[in-house]
Amino acid sequence: MRQRPPIPFLLTLVTALALAACGPSDDSATPDNGDATGEPVTLSVIMEEVPDTDIVLDLVEDFEAEYENITLEVEALPFDQMRDRIITSSLAPDPTYDIVVVDNPWMVDFANGGYLLELDAYIEGTEGYDYEDFAEPLRDIGVVDGTTFGVPLYNYALSLIYRSDIIDEAPADIEDYRQLVADISSEGEVTGLAMQPQRGYKIFEEWANWLYAYGGSLTDDSGNVTLDSPEAREALEAYIETYETAAPADSLSWGFDEALRAVAGGEAASMISYNWMLPTLNNPEGDAGDLAGSFAVAEVPGGKAALGSWSWAIAGNSENPDEAWEFISWLTSPEIDKQRVIAGGAPTRMSVLADEEVWSEGYGQDYYETVAAILEDAEPLASGPNAEEVIEIVGTHLNAAIAGEETVDEAISRAAAEAEEAFARTSEG
């Protein structure tokens, strides 16, 4: 009997191999308008879809004009998609991204996972970079176990945003603030504040400011969980009472979007939110319409703010790390960073915050001095291994306490115990 050639199986094999070979192409081989300064290189960058990214995009043209051999392809994505994309690219043999922006809770996990390149040598080797000029809390976020993996892109430290036509002077004390917003709400025209008690990240980001105001903390300097404390219980009780007496009714699932709309729409007199929301709200062409110009910013009541920050980092598997650093160091250099902030970017360098040209061309001296004060006393939401999970855990129990599913005592003790477990998990492995 004649042996038939196994054509179907060969075909299967060829198709499977073809599919397996489908992957991102090597962009570095793409020809472009290179010059004599070096091999043409295309850098792929992932960023978030936010106003600060638009400002960076406007500066990219200047960079490409100066560095003719380097072309940037920036992909701006909604926040919820970014982390998954960065992880996928970092695990791939052929990476999608050369430059990634990293949110502060991700930093330790990304660094430990080998997703990011060490930057210390680059920073030291860059003349005139003045790394120490970045606000210290922002710098610290990019450092993991003594090694620098990220340099600040922009800050999103929390502040008190309020209507200056309703609130004469922002209260510096949390109890005064609680009384004030309760009074405004009881008058009935607007609510005193719009809160963001949505389960997970949002509630923890907001409540952390209350926690600090009552003298509590999530961890101590050595990273031990210190959440199970009388201060934390007091902060949660106060938060719940204010939610029940002063916040918009039935707003338990509210996140950033709802709170912003309530404030921009004139329904609420204040919110604890990112300091750079002020220019957005005061923009006459923005969401606030006729109310633009009536918003002001102050430090959060209590003075110590929860700090968020995005950092620039180079993907650990990038084939073009030198060119990636060329771009990052150019954009975050004192000179270009000043241009970025004048254009509306959220500040990171202390020299830029104190620059009179920035004051006059930007949003005025008061704004930058307030931001400088906020950055001086701000602490990241959570840092350490599995920080993202810790934020979710604490945020779930806080939300359950407001919903009445857990008592304040249960919520705090469970959140602390589970946070401790999550922080410990990676270090064991």
Partner: protein
Amino acid sequence: MKAGEQGLKQTVTGAPERLGRLLVMPLLAILGAVLIYPVLFTARVSVQDYRLNALDQVEFIGTEHYASLITNATFINALRNTAVFVVTAVTLELILGLALALAVQRLGPTRDGVRSILLMPMFVTPIAVGLIFRFLLNQQLGLIPPLLDLFGFRIDFFGPDLALLSLALIDVWQWTPLMFLMMLAGLESLPKAPFEAARVDGASTWFTFRRVTLPLLRPAIIIAVVIRMLDALRVFEYVFAITRGGPGQTTDTIQYLIYRVGFQFFRLGEASAMAYVLVAFVLVLVAVLIWLTRKGESA
């Protein structure tokens, strides 16, 4: 002669068979690459301490993940929430879909137009539906609560008591049209004779529906319920867009939990074990429903 005929027959029937096998191979290769490989990979990962941020420390740990799920309160809560969501949504969709199908079947020339309009919610992407309802049902910023206020109703749609039901109702809004379509197709394919016989015998409308329509429609109903259940089990978008599993853990569903554990918290091994437990539940459910169909056919 006889042998020649047989040879000819073999050639005629053999060639298309070979060609058929040949043509199906690319499809099998694609399925192998995109379906079978991930299924096997997930099975392997579920018995390993597989964490995306510690890939150099992957170890075989046997059934540890599966054993830990038995006492994992979050997992059990998510399974329970998902079950409540699926049963509520699919039951309401079946009742409404069948009622709409019966009504539309009797329509005259307007039937096609009505059918097209009824199908519209199905064509909106679920994440957009989630975002639309997040704001429509918002007490301060939404359209629906002020309307309810006019009639003296005040409902906290995303409060701890109603959030899961609200998500199920959003699913009903979006997917009743599919149920309606499947029911209408089922009704239109039914034989006319039993209905005529019932009419001749003077059976009432309700009696005809209960004793003729429903038994005849049984296979179509079971298939439609299986399809919708499998789909509803995957609920993710509404949770992600609206509640993020809250208040507390009241809307934590299994897919949202698997996503969080696997991708947000990097523990792909544990998430894979959860996925396999879910698959086991689904297989049992589908087997029971298919058994019910067969039982109905043989009865």
